[in-house]
Structure formats: structure tokens, C-alpha cells
Symmetry: C2
């Protein structure tokens, strides 16, 4: 089975502290982890929503991927991450199908996880991520 | 626990048949159900992605909620649905917090499920849905 499930839904926000509060109040989301990843220009908070998980993303500056997303689209859903056992294998499978990728190789992502992104052009407008998470 | 988990991710698409094929090829998504809900102006396909679920939404016309979304934003992620035990209770809880709602009462949604939508203004730009699903 290529995809084990939805690992998380990534959401771009203007104010990370405020968003953590709002998702807690509205949906009972509980903070799992919080991290700044300077190489990606993002500060992120991972929250559990029952068995699900959302990842709130706040840009470290305007000239970052999430900063440009916010300027263009405003706050809202940014990407969906599918959990897989082998990120490199999934990338190879998609490449063989001619799907456009953002990351040609797995790379370190937030929270020490191995990730790779698939280009929205391949999916009909959805930025998708593969993630391996041995913690689950 | 207010939210049991992420029930599905709703994705607006231009061509439902093509999208079902693409999500199958790229992510191993398997068709669970397909339905036209004329009252909402939408044709939908529910797909399993491992333990996760995505809902592909195609508008029946331009002057429908999904048709207007596509015209404004293009294809892509449309909403996230949180599974709950009691949709009415969650709506009451959010109303008591002053959160803006789309649906003031639970209503019949796709696939015979009881649903209600929360306005993106309440969440920082994310259209969120509560859904009760006794099938799971």
C-alpha cells in the first residue's frame, strides 16, 4: 500500500500563537511539538486533533515559501502530507509516471522527519507531501 | 474529546473522472463511494488513502459553492472535515465561543452523513466541517 494514511494537514497562518489557541478552542487540538526550521523559513506547530494531526505554519519572513503563499492566497490550507514507509520509493514511483516533483530526493523536514513534496501541477492544484514517521 | 480525527480532506476538481484516476495512480487512493448531491450542486467521489480519506468535489454548474470556489481559487483543497460524535453539540460549543458558522444546525451531507460547516472566518481561512460517520 503506497500511502498509509493522512499524516497531517498543513495550514499557513499569520500568527502562530493565535492559531494554536484557536485550533485548541474550536477543535480541541493539543500541541504536540513546535519548531523553527530556518532552512525552510518557517516556524511550525504540530497539533493532535483526535487521531488526526494538523501542522500550523508561520513564515519567518515575506521571502519564504510560506510567506509567498500567504501574500498570494492568504491564510488557509497549504499542503496535505501522506504517510509512507519509504519516501524515496514513492518518489521513484511518481517519477516513473512522469509526475512533477518539488523534491527529487527525500530531505529532512520539520520535527526530524524525512519528507519530500510533490508539485501541485501533478495533483490538480494540491501541494502534497510524503512523510515517513517512525514515531507512530 | 471534541474531535475524533480528520474524517476527510475535501478537494475541488475540474474533472471528477480524471481526478479519481490521478489520485489512484499517484497515491493508491481507492474509490469508496460516488454520489451527486443536487441540493449542493456537487458530484463527489470519496476515496480511501490508507487509513485516510479524501473527497473529490466537482461542481454541477458555475453558480454553485464549488463552482464559485473553482472560479475564484482554481482547483485545490476546499475543506477539512473533522469527525465528531455529536454535530449539534459541537455547533453549540462553537456558537458559545462566538465562532461564525455556515450551518446553524446539522444537515444531511454527502453519502448520507450528518454534517455542518464552520465559516473560514472562525478558523483563519480554513473551511472546516463537522461530520458524524457511524460507518467507521
Amino acid at each position: 500500500m503506497p500511502v498509509l494514511g493522512i499524516h497531517h494537514l498543513g495550514i499557513a497562518v499569520d500568527d502562530l500563537d493565535a492559531a494554536v489557541l484557536v485550533y485548541g478552542q474550536l477543535f480541541g487540538a493539543r500541541l504536540e511539538n513546535r519548531e523553527t526550521l530556518a532552512s525552510q523559513g518557517v516556524e511550525a506547530a504540530s497539533l493532535h486533533t483526535g487521531t488526526g494531526r494538523i501542522e500550523l505554519l508561520s513564515p519567518l519572513g515575506a521571502d519564504t515559501p510560506v510567506g509567498r503563499f500567504l501574500a498570494k492566497r492568504g491564510p488557509g490550507m497549504h499542503h496535505v502530507a501522506f504517510q509512507v514507509d519509504d519516501v524515496a520509493l514513492e518518489l521513484a514511483r511518481l517519477r516513473a509516471q512522469g509526475a512533477r516533483l518539488v523534491d527529487e530526493e527525500p530531505r529532512p523536514g520539520l520535527f526530524g522527519l524525512q519528507v519530500a513534496f510533490v508539485h501541485p501541477e501533478a495533483t490538480g492544484g494540491v501541494l502534497a507531501e510524503f512523510v515517513r514517521d517512525d514515531r507512530d
